[in-house]
Symmetry: none
Amino acid sequence: MKFKARLPKEVEVLDSTLREGSQARGVSFDVQGKVRIALELDRLGVAFIEGGWPGSNPKDDEFFRVVREYSLEHAELVAFTSTRRKGVRAEDDPMLSKVLEAGTKWVTVFGKSWDLHVREVLRTSLEENLEMIYDTIRFFREHGIRVIFDAEHFFDGFRENREYALKVLETALEAGAERLVLADTNGGMLPHQVYAVVSEIVEKFGSRAVIGLHMHNDSGNAVANTLMGVLAGARHVQVTVNGIGERTGNADLCVVVPNLELKMNIRALRNPEGLRLLKRLSRLVYDLAGLEPNPYQPYVGDYAFAHKAGVHIDAVLKNPRAYEHIDPELVGNERRLTVSELSGAANLVAWAREELGLKLDKNDPAVRRALERIKRLEKEGYSFENAVATALLILLEELGLRGKPFEVRLWRVMSGGEEWGSAKSWAVVKLARGDREELAAGEGGGPVHAIDEALRGALSRLLPEAGDIRLIDYRVHLPIASKHTASEVRVEITFTDGKRTWTTTAISQNIIEASLKALVEGFEYHLLRRRLRGE
Amino acid sequence: MKFKARLPKEVEVLDSTLREGSQARGVSFDVQGKVRIALELDRLGVAFIEGGWPGSNPKDDEFFRVVREYSLEHAELVAFTSTRRKGVRAEDDPMLSKVLEAGTKWVTVFGKSWDLHVREVLRTSLEENLEMIYDTIRFFREHGIRVIFDAEHFFDGFRENREYALKVLETALEAGAERLVLADTNGGMLPHQVYAVVSEIVEKFGSRAVIGLHMHNDSGNAVANTLMGVLAGARHVQVTVNGIGERTGNADLCVVVPNLELKMNIRALRNPEGLRLLKRLSRLVYDLAGLEPNPYQPYVGDYAFAHKAGVHIDAVLKNPRAYEHIDPELVGNERRLTVSELSGAANLVAWAREELGLKLDKNDPAVRRALERIKRLEKEGYSFENAVATALLILLEELGLRGKPFEVRLWRVMSGGEEWGSAKSWAVVKLARGDREELAAGEGGGPVHAIDEALRGALSRLLPEAGDIRLIDYRVHLPIASKHTASEVRVEITFTDGKRTWTTTAISQNIIEASLKALVEGFEYHLLRRRLRGE
């Protein structure tokens, strides 16, 4: 048996990590984290970023407000919403107006395509459901917004009431939807079934709309179902980073995209270098979602190219193809034979070039020394996967290029409260630059806020050129297994000057100290970087 | 396009958890654990249990010695081994004699079918490799042992030197192998490619041997590739429980088997009730392997039938088919609804009974009021998924049963440092109980440690019966990080008295205040709980 050769040159990727991923149990994003993920997805080069469901919770509204301040290079932002409520006009449904406030050019409208859902969940007539779909899509088209229609439970509906499921698609198309997305919402389909159904839909509707796929993983086939759908003629794939989503999750961007690009020769990312950012993106999403990374994950997992059996290690050293289906560097991953390997130096050198414009040799003794320090710190609980700025400061120190622009001489923070909710903190910081000293105070709800204020106060007098640096993310991790109140904490802070972002990290038993150190390094890195690049 | 209808009534399952699974990074079984897993696999009803590689390590030899004492009902034990070494006779290869000592009726012999491996890894001639395969299989046949031949890297070999790959299968068949297993050892194949290759092999060899599949998961398609191979005519599938294996692992028994039985109507287990043991088996293997269970795993994961979004929960309560692809009980799993939603009242009432011995009605106005407060707090960033104790304190308050055993009157914390690493904190806490007040001090590396010490000091004098409570976990979350270092933090603390554990949570802009509140609630809950249960 042969598959019809319908392989396209490219497909468009809609990432729904920020919407569908938020529905995963155990996952909780904050607004800042959502913005960071959106920026990384744009850098990767996906076509659409589904950011949330306006009106469903304040966080999603806030996200659309905040993300507007950034200009995206590759991706379109998409808001997600349901069809209008039964029995009201689209213009009177407040949830739909919320989408207009979000200000995106695209909206995903999900509607019911399984009659069981219309009858038993919506509890309305099959006819009214079609009108809800039509009205909602028309409403957005009349406001100049382009529409992706997600046909919820399409595969179940098609099996049980084929005629109605087709009518749903026809209705969406007539109302002006430009994408018809077939969702396996219960995730129970198998690859050959998906291939058959999608083939038929592409035959019927493929000339009038782009056919898309939205696959859940309940049968363990979300990735395969997506690929088989593309083979059958779909041109739009909906995925989430690490496959996070309701229940068992969704088709994993980190697996679908490299399969398309590397194995099927189909372009999926608009940035030709995007694939190399894959492992980093995967890790970032795990971190911001509050999940442990899955080391066994295909392509991007820590063990994806880790060899354990002696015969495998021996063979891979003779020829990597012996036990590796792709070159791990293509997706930003690396081979692991035992514990820590030779590849760290290559990363560090690449970062120094990209971030600081320094051209270094992998075998430079300073690079080696920096790498040893980094590895030692990692054993103590540090993690540099995100915190490149801190790793580069260590490298600059080993290169003799870290002339400290300023130093912290002393800090004190007082905190206190009586009734719950009355807590306040006050901080004092003394900075020095050569002979000059500056003392400043800060006040805040918490101790870290107070010390941040004090540091900025002193810095603005000592080094006005530190300029307009904003924090876009502040996180606390407990790196080491014994998680008591006396544990060490690791702080990670992300900064921006409006053009670039950078992240520092520090560890201490004292959360205020760790925060202060990461703040100081963030300012220091910015100043050094500007000097090195002559900006 | 239609798939040829070659669907069989049944396939045979070979489980390789004990052999391939042992090669997974992070996995380590002991002999007793291997025996327990073998017995459970037999109960489930797999056809073959591949127990290990005799001679490769003492544990595997010991396993075959010990397991012989048990009589299995459904499964055949299989030893695993390589072809003979190059340049020696099969009868002179000590590894092959070890297999005879293992005393199994079946052996899996793996041999090279990719010419690249023969040349670059074995470093021998293509002809000698064929002889190694032939001699090894003949050797076992002459000792009355039946042979499963695993053609390593068959798919890569077939693509790059098709003629040779076919010669390998022909040789194994001529030597007396009864199963020809096509292995995707690098795991890089996609489902449509597997379907095409397996179809061809079944055409050529299917009448003379059972064709089998051994699929790795490097492209994220191990399950789909196995199913597509069965569709193409394979009748023997090799899997591991939870998919554990080299790198990204193998086709997961816990997903392949229910897909075959429930979705394709193909019998895979010899025990008709076996499927219901699936979740238990999955958990047992995680435990004995020393791995954390993956809650997102299809069919058997804790979240496989857990519903989080409000619309999903609402629908599932109307009709479970709305968001469940199968009845979870079929695989020994169960439905889970999250805390805060419609199910909240039922959960809260169940917790109150289980934890505090209180028998309440779901419609009790106090229960309703408590639930409303819980929902409001969740909107502010609280999460009660783990922190049941804090939810129950709210309920007790609404029931008029939260007579505070003590109160915090005042707290102060000072922190400071000069050099990095010199930070210290000192705390004062004043507690009150009726007219009595107690003031105590505490010192620590960080502010939370210091306040924890001060609280315990004051409490030990005020309420010695608070007794010997230990913290076993302390975590900080940033729930709504819109304000950076001024953000609110959520603290979650887990306590134990040696018999039970309980978890509290609190939010504040001030991490010290949030920690103190969660600590105070942990002690308070313990005291109230003991009183309510009359302990």
